[in-house]
């Protein structure tokens, strides 16, 4: 498996050259990254020349809260620690403010990415393709529905949940959220509790939408611990020297 993957990586490098922004192998899986402008061309070639007949999945990722934790311990005082989830964390991952009103800054260079999982049934290989959207405020990618018909709903889902627009999609509508839903719920600045709740109003005789009445809360704070067991060998050495 590993040899076949190595061979595939080399073939990909030969075929795409500079177009291939980067490639890496991690836990036995091959991931390549391409630029937004090259997406369609690369995907077409992957299907026709590299025999990836199946698009298994399309997945949006929002890197806005990458490597941010909720555990704030700097302001420990004589009165002890706060509950650790302090600070206005309306959106639970360390971003402040109300969804959609304030600009979101990211730790990584770009915020949105789409990740495609490809499967070659004939060669028994998998490949992951990641493409970052150039524009954080208006993420647009080329649709691959004309390459794999199965991409249709996957792209609709990614659009619905992350607001990534797929150019050339025949029917880009919301799919999982409610009719008339506002916002893209899987973005990191969208609160877990949501913005509106519904109930049946007897006076009006219909279902009404109201602002949420519950409070957001975090039961287990998100922490990032440096774990030497997983550190790169070089880094470990540095740490011991220091």
């Amino acid at each position: 498996m590993a040899e076949a993957q190595q061979a595939l990586a080399e073939r990909l490098q030969q075929a795409f050259g500079e177009t291939l922004r980067s490639w890496q192998e991690h836990v036995g899986e091959l991931t390549i990254e391409v630029a937004q402008a090259d997406l369609y061309r690369v995907m077409l070639s992957l299907r026709d020349d590299f025999r990836f007949e199946q698009l298994i999945d399309v997945c949006g990722v929002d890197y806005a809260a990458w490597k941010q934790d909720e555990w704030i311990t700097e302001d420990a005082s004589g009165s002890g620690f706060s509950r650790g989830v302090r600070g206005n964390q309306f959106a639970r991952l360390g971003l402040t403010g109300v969804y959609g009103l304030e600009p979101v800054t990211t730790n990584t260079g770009r915020r949105f990415a789409a990740v495609y999982q490809l499967l070659s049934v004939s060669a028994n290989q998998r490949l992951r393709v990641r493409v970052y959207c150039d524009n954080d405020d208006f993420p647009v990618l080329d649709s691959v529905v004309s390459i794999w018909a199965g991409a249709n709903w996957f792209e609709r889902e990614t659009f619905d949940l992350y607001g990534i627009i797929f150019d050339g999609h025949p029917d880009l509508r919301r799919i999982l959220t409610d009719y008339g839903f506002v916002g893209h719920p899987f973005r990191k600045d969208f609160p877990l509790i949501g913005n509106v709740e519904v109930r049946y109003n007897e006076e009006k005789g219909r279902v009404v939408y109201e602002p949420v009445s519950i409070q957001p809360r975090v039961l287990v704070p998100r922490v990032i611990r440096e774990d030497n067991r997983y550190a790169e060998p070089d880094a470990q050495e540095d740490a011991s020297n220091g």
Binding site: E53, D62, D69, V220
Partner: protein, 417 residues
Amino acid sequence: MADIQSYTMNFGPQHPAAHGVLRMVLEMEGEVIRRADPHIGLLHRATEKLAESKPYNQSIGYMDRLDYVSMMCNEHGYVMAIEKLLGVEPPLRAQYIRVMFDEITRILNHLMWLGTHGLDVGAMTMFLYCFRERELLMDVYEAVSGTRMHATYYRPGGVYRDLPERMPQFEASRFRSEKDLEWLNKDRQGSMLDFIDSFCERFPTSIDEYETLLTDNRIWKQRLVGIGQVSAERALQLGFTGPMLRGSGVEWDLRKMQPYAVYDRLDFDVPIGTNGDCYDRYVVRVEEMRQSTRIIKQCVDWLRQNPGPVIIDDHKIAPPTREEMKDDMESLIHHFKLFTEGYCVPEGEAYASVEAPKGEFGVYMVSDGANKPYRVKVRAPGFAHLAAMDEMARGHMLADVVALIGTMDIVFGEIDR
């Protein structure tokens, strides 16, 4: 009246044949469907977003609730993704237990599918027959995990506990005569493995029973043969996996092609169809139940002879036993840390997939080194299948839509997520 050419019909979301909350807007021309537009998401619970807000282990239970008729297979995909990132390998016995339960789950799922598919198409008896056997397997679930459905039994690094020595028995009550009780408990005298073994002995006969009712049944064939035909090429294009793909004649089964757990040590066959219609998919699934029985039998034999640990003893990931905690400070700390904070998973991403009863169930997991996943994406097989509804239903009659929903084996827990 004559000038009305086409009209739109609303199917569901409350419809007995919709297998949950499926709403379909059908554009009809007489009784022929011109366009089908499924509206999904009525059961959307944002499982993936919830998983982002919880330590890794707390989301295992959510996986049961995705495809709620093949619970343990979903768990398997999820824990495999974590294990990949952590770089741990569960003990061999745990892997055999997982495979055994994956296959029990496959039978559970296919029985549910067969029963409801039959019911949709008009075969009432099937439902009762299937649920009779299904109940026995539910008891196995309950014996091993404490719950009939949402087991939360698989853990990163193994399974929660070893198989019970004793199969729970029915208790006496005023609603059961002594004779009934004796009959009910006949197979439950020994251990759980004995119970499963005796089930495997009897189950092929039960499948024969289903087949006598359906396989050559004229009405069954009239409703299924030639309905929803998908060519192998289209099936690949549309992202079909599992029996939907194999029904179209593509020989692809993750258990054979990319074996995980201990599938490469087991002997079984992968049935494939030729025509790619509803009937072929029916035949494929029925044969899969027979093959699953074979696999379970091999697992039972192996498990009987090879006792051993069922979860790794790395207490950074798997909790120590109660006993150890009583007199070991270290264990107590490990336990406390695991249940208050969980474990941090090294930065990286992984995609783990299992051959779930419905197709390829995959979990794509991104970690930024925290104790909670950064992003979990569940790749549900049913999602891709239902997306093909429009293409499959075009030109068929309204009644065939019900057969199509049945053949896709739709469960909304996984489609809406």
